[in-house]
Symmetry: C2
Subunit: 476 residues, 2 copies
């Protein structure tokens, strides 16, 4: 699928026109994409969206129809539209792999290229990375809360349009859900698809037992019955037991039942006992209804017997405190060889200047200790002193026994991918294994341990120098 | 743009396979799409998304590739896949016009057709209508809060993927924003596009004044300068005044300045005074930075002098209490001529059975009094007694002086639109005029007056009868 280059804010184009007119459009520039705070007030984020972002960059070009539309706005000179007609992204991209656990402050995607191309891609990259990283993180939180139970994503009906649902299913899979209800996501991304029937199926038949029997006739080996249409324990459960027995007589096994309302902890325990007592210990219990990580945690703490959690609205919309949107931003950090800084009244919100790399200190047992943001060419060794980016007085040492690994790699050069993208399955496996390597407490849903992200001596010194230059120029 | 029919939950397809196998797929059925509670705990919703929904319905068909994917799932019989190969939507659609003010409980979109086609479209219709109605409502709330100021939408970078941003821009325009930053939305829907430059523009030049001058050189007649990069009042404002004077000397006028941080009420007053005192009363002040209806209301109550509010994240994500998602649902209300009811333990959540129409009681001065949901063929006249759907003991009379108008019309017959869709501009005008006709207090952002939605004697009687039948069958 082609992404239109007009998936952008108009100001990218007006800036490009200006740079072009000034002859500045090919000046070498570096931009960092990052977010300031972990979403959901949580202890981490799961990076996602890189593959669609690279597709966007690789395919970037303006069609005649798009140029004609831009011309019709009467904002742009013909020379600029001619320039756009040959416009492509020819830059370099540095990023972590999808599924990598990342944190606020550290550069995620770095774009190096001509000022025009590197500026132009801001909006689309933020659109893709912000949302997919947010959803992958939400999915990871839900998966952590679900423990050994599996999570099915079915948020399509509450997502932001058809493509919102598709992006969401993709990112949720990176973050740890096992399957989706979204058939197009299944076809496009190879995610396992799941689904059975709605209440309307039950209502389309004269009674619940007939509806169950007809469904089992059609899907004798993949039958999951929705048992809460009329009365979960009084009607749905006994009718499902009847069908389970009838299926077994014919050589099949009922796969599961779904409960979509009521007290899910209580109902799932009752349903579990009834199926176990009747000799159906393998029947799975699926629970759904406005679930999120907090509801799942409380169902489990109350002894709920749920095998599969179906999660829709609150995953698709990334609901919850500190959710809704990932506040990813895209900032100029270098131009024409000169490091740049955007200051604000709050030191913590000032950007980190220059080309940088991100190092992760890893303990001998493989667990993650802390991340360090260093200048691109700065040597940082175990034992080095590093600084708190929000408070340069606060210093810390990288443990001497730590290994330092690069969090990111170059994934695109001259506008072309350096290698085929990893499979979505392998991204999901990466996030799963990375989460296990976090320090204890980082996975806690509320008030988690805050993983340390420091800046190197080089970044700290450069940043303070640039700040004082700006302050002396623009006063207090 | 073609919508894939696989933009659906798998259970729609498993149900269809079941109906097809049972020979039930062409039984006449009626489904209602509705939501239960106004979003944002507000007093109303603005209906949107109909036109894309009709496009989806009109184009619905399965490609060979899509059928091959479904075959690969090993869930479906060849006879069912053959049926899908010729599948189209041939049903009838009843809906209000986009921009109509609507309320919880009342049927919005009603689909009449064969059981299979009417069931199948559930997920996609919910996806499209839920999100667009939610955004249009949020936009209307923001526009109401902004008073005479205009609202610019720029949520693309925080929307759910590229298409989420496109749907959002479209629906926000229906709800009352005047323009968008999203260039593709401009091209696709004819929405006016706006935008100037980012902080990175300023940082790409040696100093702020040079950056302002170069921008003004390029866009002498559409120049809006971002004045908060270094120091809004100490640097951005005096530099913008300099450029305003220089532009005037060359026969142009500075269009405006934008403030993207700090105390927007205070800064906008200071900036307004400075431009007024310098002889530039026409320079517009644009404010942005995590705005929503509540922040805008407080800026205005503090005497803020803002002409244009730029709204991004909190519109795109429909943030706020009762926001995030519109809980629209899609329920079977009739099959084979038999009215159907889905009961729940909460009377207010039980559905309203049968084919229905929605009447709006309008006062002689054009203001809206209340809505009444009646059976399709039931005569309801001014003066009639009507019932509270959540409490049938509560009765009310439609005022005798009211006119009763149909809220909805038939927009599609045999799978084809009955007429070309109205322009987006006319939908925006409709929402604007409808909001003015609401009873006082309905527009209040917090604890609004709740507009009355009643059910007719026919709906009330039928619903109570069906409830008692179900209860006698499935027991307590």
């Amino acid at each position: 699928m082609r992404y239109s280059p007009l998936i952008t804010d108009l100001y990218e184009l007006t800036m490009l026109a200006g740079y072009h007119e000034q002859g500045m459009h090919e000046r070498p520039a570096v931009f960092d994409l990052f977010f300031r705070h972990n979403p959901f007030k949580g202890g981490y984020a799961v990076f996602a969206g890189l593959e669609p972002a690279l597709s966007y960059l690789e395919d970037l070009s303006f069609s005649e129809e798009e140029l004609a539309y831009l011309d019709s706005l009467k904002l742009f000179r013909p020379s600029f539209l001619d320039y756009l007609a040959g416009f492509q992204f020819k830059g370099r991209v540095i990023a972590p792999g999808e599924g990598t656990v990342v944190f606020g402050t550290e550069p995620l995607v770095t774009i190096e290229g001509g000022l025009a191309e590197a500026q132009f891609v801001e909006t689309a990259l933020l659109n893709i990375i912000n949302f997919q990283t947010l959803v992958a993180t939400k999915a990871a939180r839900i998966k952590q809360a679900a423990g050994d139970a599996t999570v099915l994503e079915f948020g399509l009906r509450r997502a932001q349009g058809p493509d919102g649902g598709l992006s969401e299913a993709r990112a949720a899979y990176v973050g740890g859900v096992c399957s989706t209800s979204n058939v197009l996501a299944g076809m496009r991304y190879g995610i396992p698809v799941r689904g059975t029937h709605a209440h309307s199926w039950i209502m389309a038949f004269p009674d619940e037992l007939t509806a169950f029997r007809r469904y089992a006739d059609n899907f004798p080996d993949s039958c999951i019955l929705l048992i809460d249409t009329y009365d979960t324990l009084g009607s749905g459960l006994p009718n499902a037991l009847t069908v389970a027995r009838e299926l077994r007589e014919r050589g099949h096994e009922l796969v599961g039942v779904r409960i979509d309302s009521g007290d899910l902890a209580y109902l799932s325990r009752q349903v579990r006992s009834a199926f176990d007592a009747a000799g159906f210990p393998a029947v799975k219990i699926v629970a759904s209804n406005e679930l999120d990580e907090f509801v799942i945690e409380s169902i489990r703490s109350e002894g709920g017997q749920v095998d599969i959690y179906g999660v829709g609205t609150r995953l698709a919309t990334c609901a919850g405190e500190g959710g809704g949107a990932l506040g990813g931003v895209y900032k100029l950090v270098k131009i024409d060889g000169e490091a740049k800084l955007k200051i604000t009244s709050d030191l913590a919100k000032s950007t980190l200047p220059d080309r940088k790399r991100v190092l992760r200190a890893v303990a001998p047992d493989g667990s993650f200790i802390q991340d360090v943001i260093a200048l691109h060419d700065e040597e940082v060794l175990p034992g080095a002193q590093v600084f708190d980016p929000a408070n340069p007085i606060q210093q810390k040492r990288i443990p001497r026994e730590a290994r330092l690994i690069e969090l990111r790699g170059t994934v695109m050069v001259n506008g072309r991918r350096c290698a085929p993208s990893p499979t979505l399955q392998s991204c999901a496996e990466l996030s799963n294994s990375e989460l296990k390597r976090l320090p204890e407490g980082c996975l806690r849903l509320v008030n988690p341990h805050l993983y340390k992200v420091s800046i190197s001596p080089g970044v700290n010194t450069l940043r303070l120098k640039l700040m004082s230059q700006i302050q002396s120029r623009y006063g207090e």
